[in-house]
């Protein structure tokens, strides 16, 4: 399925990305080209093959004990907030 501007708009909306209308065509073309390239994977027979989502087979389970360990630099962590209301983060209202 070719990638056209309407597809770019839909995906951009899902990803909350504003794309300059002047560039929509270009992105559509580029994505279309890349997806055309990756089509080659369709030719492979992958029946019965398990997907690899991690290459860490054999790793021991890594669980954390349920003990409180407060983060010592909390004020520093909140410092970079673009807008605050006291200790809250402030954002435009969720519609």
């Amino acid at each position: 399925m070719p990638i056209d501007v309407s597809v770019v708009r839909k995906i951009a909306a899902l990803a909350r990305l504003r794309i300059d209308p002047a560039e929509e065509e270009r992105y559509a073309r580029e994505l279309d080209g890349i997806l055309g390239f990756v089509e080659q994977l369709q030719a492979l027979d992958v029946a019965g093959i398990e997907p690899t989502s991690q290459v860490t087979e054999g790793a021991r389970p890594a669980l954390r004990a349920d003990e409180v360990c407060p983060f010592g630099a909390r004020d520093e962590a909140l410092e970079g907030a673009p807008e605050r209301d006291g200790d809250y983060f402030k954002v435009p209202q969720v519609v």
């Binding site: 899902l14 954390r64 962590a77 200790d87 983060f89 954002v91 209202q93």
Partner: protein, 494 residues
């Protein structure tokens, strides 16, 4: 807004409601699911946060082992299959209280599948099946105060972000709001028995969304379902489901079609309203979480966890019926919580009176608790004291009436009933001479009824007994008093 015709009983009879519930339960771990921040409720905003739950660049989740344990316990308690390997997945969407822009949850490979919960509605026992139970992280809180200049803003507190949740999905086996109410009550009971969740809907440690559809009786295919959110109590769940069933039936009967949508329950107005429409349906783009290895559970660990589970409500109830010989109804009331059941067992053992102990708890104890809101753990009358009191009633040391007086006293006085009897002069009157004197007094004070009895009116005997008991302020030994009265009555009739 279109006004729908209301559903009538005739209409209702033609349809079968099909309801499934999705319940989210906050787990009572000390720390969050993927970081070591505290989970205490009510802390100052953004005071229980760290780079991980703030979603700062460069951080990674680390799984809390107790969250896994609590989730597995829940699965075992409902008879679900615990999968030896399960994986986390990312659920991607944008919201200000979702700090990473995705929620770590479980999708294709949840921790538990299957299982069920037995509910008891009006003498009928029914099993509500479960689809699955999986682990996920809670989001933070978005608060919507009105802005001063009329521009609205939202405030975000991420204390709650990362608190561990289990999502419990039921099969669509529920058929009414009432069944839903019982299902939630039972589920909460199990969670509280396991001590994995507080089960408090008003505080948000238990949340519920309902999926409701109807189908003509006899049809197998499901009707279109709606999802109802914003249900903040078990009663609202019941009401909202009842409302929505009726709405759908009335709609279909009037020629309309149910639209698949999400509704918000408005408890003030008693209606479920369409959420403001979203531009596009969510596409969560689930994929396996690359930052977390699979949860791999050792089967022997699962078995030892199973063995270590506390006795669950159904088993406890059945055991009490079996061992104590009390009726099912009593056992159900007494097993409301583990603590109450323990209290009962101690009272029954101490008094040797299982049924009487049950009565006392169900009536006297619970009456007080309903008024004061006391948990059984903080109830002022200790189990051994109550046990002694019940024994005294059973062996006739005090009458039922005196016993109730003693109980009242014991609410504020931690002395045992025997000590109180001594202290307040509530000793029973058992002495024959004293009882004879009492009987004579009563007859003298009531010549009319006395004469009537002697004339053959057997009924007045009870009146005379009552008068004598009153005179003795309940202290007269019941059987002995009756014997004394009869004796006096008969000997003087000649």
């Amino acid at each position: 807004m279109t006004k729908y015709a209301t559903a009538t009983d005739e209409m209702r009879a033609k349809y079968e409601p099909v309801i499934g519930l999705e319940v989210h339960a906050q787990l009572k771990t000390k720390t969050k699911i993927f970081c070591a921040c505290a989970t205490t409720f009510g802390a100052a905003p953004n005071s229980q946060v760290c780079p991980v739950c703030l979603g700062l660049p460069g951080v990674l989740p680390v799984l809390n082992e107790r969250a896994v344990t609590f989730a597995a316990m829940t699965g075992l308690a409902v008879g679900a299959t615990i999968h030896p390997r399960s994986i986390f997945a990312r659920k991607n969407y944008f919201y200000p209280d979702l700090s990473k822009g995705y929620q770590i949850s479980q999708y294709d490979r949840p921790l538990c599948e299957g299982g069920g919960v037995e509910i008891h509605v009006e003498e009928v026992r029914k099993r509500i099946g479960l689809v699955r139970i999986h682990l996920e992280e809670d989001a933070g809180k978005s608060l919507h105060p009105e802005g001063k200049e009329g521009v609205s803003t939202t405030r975000v507190d991420l204390n709650r972000a990362g608190v561990p949740l289990i999502e419990i999905v039921s099969e669509p086996d529920i058929r009414s709001g009432v069944e839903a109410y019982h299902y939630l009550t039972k589920l909460k009971q199990i969670l509280v028995y396991l001590d994995v969740c507080d089960g408090n809907m008003e505080e948000g440690s238990l949340r519920c969304d309902a999926n409701v559809s109807v189908r003509p009786c006899g049809r197998v295919a499901f009707g279109t379902k709606t999802e109802i959110k914003n249900l903040n109590s078990f009663r609202y769940v019941e009401k909202a489901i009842a409302y929505e069933i009726d709405r759908q039936i009335a709609l279909i009967e009037s020629g309309g079609r149910v639209v698949q949508e999400t509704l918000l329950w408005d408890s003030a107005r008693g209606v479920a309203e369409t959420m403001r429409s979203k531009e596009e349906a969510h596409d969560y783009r689930y994929f396996p979480e690359p930052d977390l290895p699979p949860i791999d559970l050792d089967p022997s660990w699962v078995e030892s966890l199973r063995a270590s589970l506390p006795e669950l409500p159904d088993a406890l109830r059945e055991r009490l019926v079996r061992e104590q010989g009390i009726p099912e109804y009593d056992a159900e009331v007494l097993t409301e919580t583990r603590a109450l059941a323990s209290y009962y067992e101690e009272v029954a053992a101490r008094s040797g009176q299982p049924k009487l102990a049950s009565n006392w708890i169900m009536t006297e104890v619970n009456a007080v608790r309903n008024k004061t809101g006391d948990s059984i753990e903080s109830f002022p009358v200790r189990a051994d004291r109550l046990g002694d009191l019940v024994a005294m009633v059973a062996n006739g040391r005090v009458s039922g009436k005196i016993a109730k007086q003693l109980f009242e006293m014991m609410l504020t006085d931690s002395s045992g009933p025997e000590a109180l009897v001594q202290k307040h002069g509530l000793l029973p009157i058992e002495d024959d001479a004293a009882l004879r004197a009492l009987a004579l007094e009563v007859l003298a004070a009531n010549p009319g009824p006395t004469a009537e009895f002697r004339a053959g009116k057997e009924k007045t005997f009870a009146f005379l007994v009552g008068q004598a008991m009153k005179q003795s302020r309940g202290r007269a030994h019941p059987e002995k008093l009756q014997a004394a009265l009869r004796a006096v009555l008969t000997e003087e009739s000649a």
